[in-house]
């Protein structure tokens, strides 16, 4: 599991690097050489405490490092910090992550979210299956089980289970990918969910109307108008 990219380690590393930004490249590279390895070891032994808890703020860590190595105190400590926006964003989101997490009794909120991941993958797969049948022009929205051609059938369950299996595979796969890939997959999932809510809600509305009237034509028309609604 230590081979996974850890956003806390990345964030801490980036902040230390930023605090050493005024040093010549070679000196900075030398000071940062063992840092990722060190942070991983500290994290492995931290028993749920955050890196900042164990090692102090990244800026202080950097100041101690450069002082012990015999480099002059950095410009970053004196005034306007030349902290690049990405490092600042990471530092800030890490602080929020820790603050929210500690309110719930865990080191970081993303730890808790990660633990909930597999449950979300199951739900996501089922929603994808529902969206697939919902997008079908002759589909009937009659419940939480995907139905093919309006009849409850093994195909509906099969479709749902296939969706779940695919989603689980995507989830497991994405955990081994970079943070960027995970963000893209997360955004796609949210988009699918939003789409699913729109499609199913509109179909549900069409269903209610259909019970009031006998016409078949409006039923066929309903999904296409539903499809038109969400787009601005």
């Amino acid at each position: 599991m230590t081979t996974l990219v850890d956003p806390e380690i990345d964030g801490y590393h980036a902040a230390v690097r930023a605090a050493l930004a005024d040093l010549p490249d070679a000196a900075r590279a030398e000071l940062l050489e063992d840092l990722a390895d060190h942070l991983r070891e500290v994290r492995a032994e931290s028993e749920g405490r955050s890196l900042t808890d164990v090692l102090g703020a990244p800026g202080d860590y950097a100041a101690e490092l450069r002082a012990a190595a015999g480099y002059p105190a950095g410009a970053a400590r004196r005034g306007r910090a030349p902290l690049d926006p990405l490092a600042r964003f990471r530092q800030r989101s890490l602080a929020i992550d820790e603050a929210v997490g500690q309110a719930f009794g865990v080191a970081r909120a993303t730890d808790a979210l990660r633990a909930l991941g597999p449950g979300w993958w199951v739900l996501r797969g089922w929603i994808v299956a529902l969206v697939l049948v919902g997008a079908h022009r002759h589909a009937h929205w009659t419940g939480l089980v995907p139905r093919v051609d309006g009849r409850p059938s093994a195909w509906g369950w099969l479709l749902g289970l296939a969706g779940v299996a695919g989603s689980l595979a995507a989830g497991v796969w994405s955990r081994r990918r970079s943070a960027g890939t995970r963000v893209v997959i997360g955004l796609v999932s949210v988009a699918i969910t939003v789409l699913g809510v729109f499609v199913t809600r509109n179909l549900f509305g069409a269903d209610v109307v259909r019970y009031g009237g006998p016409a078949l034509a409006p039923v066929a028309a309903a999904p296409s108008s539903a499809a038109a609604t969400p787009s601005p």
């Binding site: 230590t2 050489e33 060190h38 102090g56 101690e64 002082a67 012990a68 015999g70």
Partner: protein, 110 residues
């Protein structure tokens, strides 16, 4: 008094002494210093000190591949480091002896 302030002046000697026993990598040296009782030693101070001693020619370094993780940079004390440590020994003994006397109020009795 804050022990971290006291440590700063003698960290070079402490790190050299640890490496005289056995070669080690950064975090391993931090652990060994803590194991002998220097619990306040800061991780960053040790890493920085290793860098400075290496730059100053008191240590050599080599990389050890690891099956279960990243490759590690090990440090070893060399001749210059041993000489530095040997010179520090008597200086430290004299300093520590003087401080002992001062703090226990035995300056006149001696």
């Amino acid at each position: 008094m804050d022990p971290t302030q006291l440590l700063k002046g003698v960290l070079d000697v402490a790190v050299l002494a640890v490496l005289r026993e056995e070669d080690g990598y950064g975090y391993d040296i931090v652990r060994r210093l803590r194991a002998v009782g220097l619990e306040q030693v800061g991780d960053a101070s040790v890493y920085g000190t290793l860098r400075r001693l290496f730059q100053g020619g008191a240590l050599t370094a080599y990389v050890v591949p690891s099956e279960s993780g990243p490759h590690r940079k090990y440090y070893a004390i060399n001749e210059r480091g041993r000489a530095q440590l040997a010179a520090a020994g008597p200086a430290w003994a004299q300093f520590a002896g003087a401080m002992d006397k001062l703090l226990s109020g035995r300056t006149d009795a001696a």
